[in-house]
Amino acid sequence: MNSLRALVLIAALFSGLLQAAELKVAVLVQDPAQISMQGKLIPSSTPGADLVAVTDELAREICRRIHAHCAFYYVRLAEILPGVEAGRFDLGFGNFLRAPEREKRVAFSDALFRSSSRLIGTPANVRAYTTKLAQPVNLANLRGARVAALDGSRQQAYLDRNASERALTVVATSTTAEALDLLRNDSADFALLPIRTGYALISRDKAQRFVFVGPAVTAHGLGDTAHIVLEKQNNALRRAANKAIAEIKADGTFQRIMYRHFPVFLD
């Protein structure tokens, strides 16, 4: 069935019929409230609204560039990769880092930007754990803590791998906003999030309750280039998406989208 879909898509690309093709595009949300909005304007007051807006604009621009009519679905991270793998979505916008286990399941586009991961915590917890560990807290020396991470993320995978050795309690959340809620509720001591997501969330926290903890990390699969995921066999769509990415980077569209929602553009 998947092969048939790929063949139809390849034929459509070569015959110029992709304009008529409808692609299902998954867009990552940062807050559960954004799921129910599905295509409506997401209020900037909701956590991570800027991140969703960037992802949404990027997805729509790429759809335009590949001359496809796209239907957008606003979903949690954990739904995107399995959805693309199963053919429920054609394109998955969730700033996915490459990982061997992911490579087996889906295809990756060319890089959108580069990312790292960083711990987030409250100043009180930072002080407590600095005392407890007798050294400044960072991801490498963190032990015996409850750490929140997005379900299905590379951060969760890292924590799961080190949980038993370092007595960590991994608390998986469906959205990044929920991870910060856990910190607020003292249901978690720290959250390990992608740096851009972490920045978007804590910089918009009026109460300024959160700080970055320790240095950012790119090792252990926690940082590298971020990508769109696609169906593994759909090479024609992957080529078209890559061409669109190259175009929007070359003509400055990508940078303009980023600047509309972030004060800096980091490539």
Binding site: S116, R196, Y199, F212, P215, A216, T218, D224, V264, L266
Partner: protein, 424 residues
């Protein structure tokens, strides 16, 4: 014919194959060297395109991100509120967390120090806002160091291209020298080829051509220096054989000519040859106004001799007559067996009177000459002669007149000479 010497002599075909092989090997080696240089240039260009240029871009992006970090640090100090300062600090942390900065040790250390420093100032400023002003000079020094690092990284990135470009330029220079070497090699080989062709092919061929052009039976056989190529040597040998064949053919031709012009019985020239030679002599004499005379002689009673003593006796008489005649006349005179027992004479540079003296002497000598026949009998045979002047008329006419005179000599009793009357 192939001799042992020829077998040790290289053939032109083999020599060409050897030369062509050597040239192909040398040229192939140079082409391979050039191809290797081209491969190196292509590899350097590919490396430049796919590795170095992206790496340079990475350096430039890092420099730009550090500039951004510096800019946000500046914004931190120029903030008007604690909230603005916190936002600037968040941005500093965001920039400092970027992988491009983290993977560069100096930049990472600089970003970490900046982040820690600004975090510390932020805490101090929360308690005492004047701390911002007091610590600003220190920030300026940090900022200055960051600028220097940005410059270093920019230059470091640009220098990456220099190595690849130097490598390419070096390879191209080497390729140019190799190309010049290849041209010199080809030129040298062509000169060598020309020299070898001249020495071993063209000059021997010229010698052969000259020898063939001047090949003559009167000349000695052509001599050639020792040729190095078997084919040339074979042609030279063939030229020598050709010369020998020419000499042999010439000897045969002369013998045949002699046979064709002589009478088989008497050894005198035959009538046809006499007529050709006499015609030429008469034309010459008449052209220069010189005297010339012809005569026809006939042995008297020769038929009776044959009938009495047999044809063998007649042949002996004829041979004896011819021998005596040859011995008696001048070398310049022409004598032939005109037919049967009849003989023709031509006396160049002689008037009828002078010729008459000559033939008269001979007639007397022959008439007194004893001839021994095969049966042992000794006989004497006489001769009748008709003599005519040929200095003013064609040969045929002169002979006709001599014939009339001969007839007259026979009629008058034989064994005499009758001079034909002058022409009208």
């Amino acid at each position: 014919m192939t001799t042992e010497d020829d077998r040790h002599r290289p053939s032109a075909g083999k020599a060409f194959v050897v030369l062509a092989s050597v040239f192909a090997l040398l040229f192939g080696a140079v082409v391979a060297l050039l191809a290797f240089d081209q491969y190196r240039v292509l590899a350097a260009a590919t490396r430049l395109q796919h590795e170095t240029v992206p790496e340079i871009i990475r350096y430039q992006r890092l420099a730009r991100n550090l500039d951004q970090l510096n800019h946000e640090g500046e914004r931190f100090f120029s903030s008007h509120s604690a909230e603005e300062r916190q936002q600037a600090l968040f941005l500093v942390m965001l920039v400092a967390s970027h992988p491009s900065i983290l993977e560069h040790p100096q930049a990472a250390a600089m970003a970490r120090d900046t982040e820690n420093y600004l975090g510390e100032i932020n805490q101090l400023a929360a308690r005492d806002p004047s701390a911002l002003r007091a610590r600003y000079p220190e920030w300026q020094r940090i900022s200055q160091r960051m600028h220097l690092l940005v410059d270093d990284i920019s230059v470091e990135g640009a220098n990456l291209a220099t190595a690849d470009l130097d490598d390419m330029a070096g390879t191209m220079r080497t390729a140019r020298f190799k190309l010049l070497g290849a041209l010199a090699l080809v030129g040298g080989f062509i000169l060598l080829l020309i020299a070898l062709l001249r020495q071993h092919l063209i000059r021997p061929l010229q010698r052969i051509d000259h020898a063939l052009s001047s090949l003559d039976v009167e000349q000695p056989a052509p001599q050639f220096p020792d040729a190095s190529l078997a084919e040339i040597h074979a042609v030279e040998e063939a030229t020598g054989r050709l010369h020998k064949a020419m000499i042999s053919n010439e000897a045969a031709r002369r013998e045949l000519e002699l046979l064709a012009n002589r009478d088989g019985l008497t050894g005198l020239i035959n009538r046809r040859h006499f007529m050709v030679g006499a015609e030429a002599e008469i034309r010459r004499a008449q052209r220069y106004g010189r005297p010339i005379a012809v005569a026809l002689g006939d042995l008297d009673s020769f038929k009776r001799l044959n009938d009495t003593h047999g044809h063998g006796a007649g042949d002996v008489v004829l041979r004896t007559f011819a021998a005596l005649l040859t011995d008696s006349v001048r070398q310049s005179d022409l004598i032939c067996r005109y037919g049967g027992e009849e003989f023709a004479f031509l006396f160049p540079e002689s008037s009828v009177e002078q010729a008459h003296i000559l033939v008269e002497l001979f007639r007397q000598r022959f008439a007194e000459h004893d001839i021994r026949l095969p049966d042992g009998v000794l006989v004497r045979v006489t001769l009748s002669i008709g003599l005519a002047d040929a200095s003013h008329c064609p040969l045929e006419i002169a002979l006709q007149r001599a014939d009339y005179a001969l007839y007259e000599a026979k009629r008058l009793g034989r064994n005499r000479i009758v001079v034909a009357a002058e022409a009208d």
